[in-house]
Amino acid sequence: MTRRSEPDIPCHFGPHGGLFGLYHPGALGAKTAVLLCPPLGQDLIRCHRLYRQLAHALAGQGTAALRFDYYGTGDSAGGSEEVEWLRCLEDVATAAEQLRLRSGCERIVGFGARLGGSLALAAVDSARLDELILWDPVLDGAAHVAALDALQAALRFDTDRFVAPRPATALADQWQGFAVGICLRQQLAELCLDPPHRRTLLLQSVAAAADRHRFAAAGAEVATLSQPTPWNDLARLETAIQSHELIEAVSRRVQEALHA
């Protein structure tokens, strides 16, 4: 059943109020809330609308949700070059506490797309997440770094974007529009994540059979979305990611969690 949700509340929280978030209130007395962990880089901007729609859908069914930006991303404090993996993990934990505080819920479901899923997975203990819903999470950091580097190299010669190829130096130390620090690059290159020991739903919209088997073997539920998501597609770099199927799948899973 869908209820008329209250308007979302923009807020600052965390150390020095440096994190920006939007809190979507749920129903009074609810026990479970959802923390929406955004991806990083351009994926964050591409997923913004979908995260908002998902938060509205959850709030509409009575589940509070918190969207937020990590330090150095979105509307949070800090520059893009300051984004750093360990700080992002701290931010997930800080945001989870903020959600507990605002919603009064002790039970938190963590959702994340791409690196947002990776961060929810990596922070599952420190943020005390009770359950995870992961959409195409990045589990092999080295492969992800290689893919972003390849996209950046191709960007230089993208004639749909530039009148003439740009010098390599103009594109150095960046991934698709964002400055990247040495620290984050190194941290991502070393990233290797295993399935968690928590109730988990893995949603896949890109082919990754090995991940599917690993998660299934660890007891996670795995589902495949009918449409592939164009994550690493230079031609659609500034096109919003949309998936009603994803919103429905996550909403359904959260409803199940309420009754689990």
């Binding site: 913004h48 609308r49 974007r161 530039f162 009148v163 964002f178 400055a179």
Partner: protein, 282 residues
Amino acid sequence: MHEQATRFGRANHLTGITGLPTEDARSTGVIILNAGLVHRVGPFRLHVEMARQLNARGFPTLRFDLSTLGDSSASGESSSREQQVRSDVADAMALLRKQAGCSRFVLIGLCSGAQNAHLVAHSSEAVAGAVFLDGYAYRSTGFKLRHYLPRLLNPARVVRHLARRLRTAPAAAGSGFQVEFPPQARVRDELAVMLDRGLKLYFIYSGGSSWYFNHRRQFGECYGRALATHPGVTVSFNKEVDHTYILVGDRRRLLDNIESWLCTHFPQPAPARDTRQAAATT
């Protein structure tokens, strides 16, 4: 610099972030409008970087989402999109007037943001300036000569072009952001009205607009010499950069240019009482 996330507007439906300088705030507030459908952070976080750089130079800023974009909802009014934009920006100006004591405003917009900036700058007396990133311009004879002549003089390019035309269906000119422009004469007249009111206007064209703008001189070809040489008008064209400033260095140069233009044309700080007293009394 201090940022504050806010819900505001006549239906409390708009979401934005005000950025207030810690000291020596200027009386001119800067309002940054959505670029296309991208939420208020802007393409590749351009608007966040812009707001913070201008805050550091004393300009109060507001980056916000227009009705139904980003995190803003619909106002519930049954009015035209143009009227909604005017009302949303009026709400934004009221907020910045209340929070920072601003008495006049500069609007900054990219692509559709430039069109919305034009719309409001033409009709609102509170607007003192505007920065149009890949805003209106029209293909002139000079544009066509610069565009087609090099191609016609190169037989290999002519052959490639014809082969491409035969292979593919005709595509829309330019990359994916083509929008419909109002009649050229109307835009020229509206710009003249703005300049007569004393507005300062900064037109910045990128290589991403090269399907309709390919030389700084084209501004005069479109709008006439009187407008092009008017002291209130500044025009720049940077052919090598893309429409949304994907490269960090390009963004940095763009922001430095905007900051420099603002400091030149809107130099004065706010009177000491304005900021604090206005905030205290509201």
